[in-house]
Symmetry: C2
Subunit: 428 residues, 2 copies
């Protein structure tokens, strides 16, 4: 194993506690032979032989005694170099590294295919939720049309608490950090990047294509205010950070952004650090998987499941014959990811304007000029000489048109602050 952080510790605990069961299930003993760490001297509470800890990760991926390399260090490098080296040495790989697979998945999958080794990456998407197996195997006989869900526990935790407590983003974020629900550098979680990693991995797997990560649309939750949340409630909606991968005319959609969804939608009731993913198939219709999206235990469980699957294949013959993706490399092409500007949504728009006569007419006029019609308009919190919030919702409109209208408004003296735009998905 490479890495001995929270997830690595979970793996050590699991293997310590499950020795007998794992032996029974595999028919061989599966031993954690060596762990590579950055700092050998660090004190650790897990029961693990210190002589088996090394600071030289390359000594693991080249050790002829080792059959399976578990990579839980994260990040692009040196994880990538280590994984490629392991594969070149005929070792099977289990990884929880969503970042790496999202950015450079094709390189990994190709190396796995030509190296005829196994790759387990259940832990890379949504903790122990068996989404990789669902796409790669359970629905392999079906056509997946859409995968949509909440795949970042930290973001969902923050939004859930903002919704239930009515407190601002920064306050909840700080609290989440002190409680361990958010990391000290929360950028990947709150800016939607972590969700986008998972979207890219799931889209590539489900649609048998390679996905250019740069083309995934990403918008985080940092500009959402308690006002937006309470306005959503008035409309019967709830704000969630949705991750969507979807087949569409001429390509696929791959996007991450906050969305207002009906309160009655099952995703609206998925709160806290939970993840939930719906898979819509041609034959199987809608199936939903829900579970803790991260954490040491669930991630370790996903890793152990992959290790045991591979160990069973080693024990009985047949290891190295499972392609990592649904279809082989030579049939995989890069699919066009539809630009967000070419999509159509209903929108929630919150403008901060000065409270002067005629302002509403100007807002409505600018939108109307681009063919965008207004569904509702609400002005609240009016105080003399203070900027006021005006909330508009629109009927379905092309994002490009809306952005042009908003761009034009920016150049006037009407808007005193950037406009908040949240997509409404009533039929999410």
């Amino acid at each position: 194993m490479i890495g001995f952080g929270a997830v690595g510790s979970g793996v050590v605990n699991l293997f310590n506690n499950m020795t007998r069961e794992i032996f029974e299930r595999v028919g061989l003993s599966v031993e954690l032979v060596k762990i590579a760490v950055r700092n050998k001297g660090k004190k650790r509470s897990q029961i693990f032989d210190k002589n088996k800890i090394t600071e030289d990760a390359f000594s693991i991926v080249t050790d002829p005694e080792i059959d399976i390399v578990v990579e839980v260090m994260g990040g692009e490098e040196p994880a990538m170099a280590l994984i490629l080296k392991a594969i070149s040495q005929g070792k099977h790989v289990v990884t929880a590294n969503k970042h790496l697979l999202a950015m450079r998945g094709e390189e990994v999958y190709s190396a796995v295919e030509s190296g005829e080794v196994e790759l387990g990456f259940e832990a890379a998407v949504a903790g122990a939720i068996p989404i990789v197996r669902a796409i790669r195997s359970a629905f392999a006989g079906d056509r997946i049309d859409m995968i949509q869900g909440i795949v970042n526990g930290t973001g969902n935790y923050i939004l859930s608490r903002m919704t239930s407590e009515g407190k601002p983003f920064n306050e909840i974020l700080k609290d989440a950090q002190s409680l361990g629900y958010a990391e000290s550098d929360p950028a990947f979680d709150i800016e939607g990047i972590d969700s986008a990693h998972k979207v890219a991995i799931m889209a590539a797997l489900a649609f048998g294509t390679s996905v250019n990560f740069g083309s995934v649309f990403i918008e985080g939750i940092t500009s959402i205010t308690p006002d937006d949340i309470s306005m959503a409630r008035e409309f019967g909606l709830k704000i969630k950070l949705l991750a969507t991968a979807k087949r569409c005319e001429g390509g696929i959609e791959a996007r991450v952004h906050p969305a207002m969804i009906p309160q009655s939608h099952f995703l609206a009731s998925v709160n806290g650090a939970y993840n939930a993913i719906e898979i819509i198939c041609d034959n199987a219709a809608k199936n939903v998987l829900i579970g803790p999206g991260a954490g040491s235990g669930p991630t370790a469980s996903a890793i152990a499941g992959d290790v045991i699957d591979i160990a069973c294949k080693i024990a009985r013959g047949g290891a190295g014959k499972t392609p990592p993706m649904l279809i082989p490399l030579e049939l995989r092409n890069e699919t066009k990811v539809k630009a967000i500007s070419d999509m159509v949504f209903e929108y929630y728009l919150r403008f901060t304007v000065s409270d002067r006569p005629g302002i509403l007419a100007k807002l409505a006029g600018a939108l109307g000029e681009k063919g965008i019609s207004i569904a509702s308009m609400i002005q609240r919190g009016r105080q003399e000489n203070e900027p006021v919030s005006v909330v508009l919702t629109t009927h379905s409109a092309a994002e490009a048109d809306l952005d042009m209208a908003l761009e034009q408004l920016k150049d006037t003296d009407i808007c005193l602050a950037p406009v908040t735009k949240i997509r409404i998905q009533k039929d999410a």
Copy 2:
């Protein structure tokens, strides 16, 4: 394929529509070679070559051209004889037959193991919900403590409509039959037997044991009334037909019965023909899978997923090496299934009594004698000279004690009709 009913038709449609994708995924063409039916003359709307339809199912399981036998005829015999013959001929088997696997699973699993063939049975439990893969593979590195859920779509459909419409069981059942949600002989669904089949299969798989189907506790929904449902609502509870498999001191629990669960529990909001299964693991914590529990499309999708998994193994080598269960035959023992009489629940009890002074005291007295204490008592619909309903809820009590108290009351003139007893699971 053996059987060409609703599920078989779904499989034919799927293979007709997915020819290209299946070829891409497997690397070989997967052809539906022959279908055995009871009546060759029956008109069918699916596109399938009539010359490939036979009434001789044994000609399929002995055909040397055939690699995989899909059994969708259902029932114990001749399905069992056909499956065993197929295995003895070295054929891999995919089956949707929950009845057969619940009653005689060990025989099938043993034959599969010693015959070194593959067995796919995802379709036997809860439509396309990937529960078999979850237990057999995704959580193979973890310890499953409990599997609980709603695994019969017909029963859940009827209870959901009784709950939303307040109409009696028989009326909703008839309507469900005319709409195709319930079969003309609905006994397996409404009496809990179908759910119990699934419990037996999941328990055997999750706990690495053989399960004697006769020891699974089964109680259906036929005696539930709109009154019970509305009383449950007053308590903040909802009635669901729950299927539970759980590790416990000295063995396992395996039971199916209606239960009152909190309205806030996610299972309470799973309505209509949907199934939902929660899996509680030592490391992965709680994961939940939700989907349509039956139907031609979802079941066909599950079958196709299994066929493609096996076909991939045939194409690349390695078929026949996946044991059907988590642990091999020689390590599987029959585990003791705890008797329901040895369990402890809170209870909802509805008595039909004559409206005479002192009756309540007698009910309370009979329960108190067995050490059962009453949590609440409600009497409603009082009309002169008419029997009245008295509803009691109890604190936690041993089922054996409660049953003794109820037995004694039966021998008196107090109860004018059988008592309705529904278990309350507040921490379901």
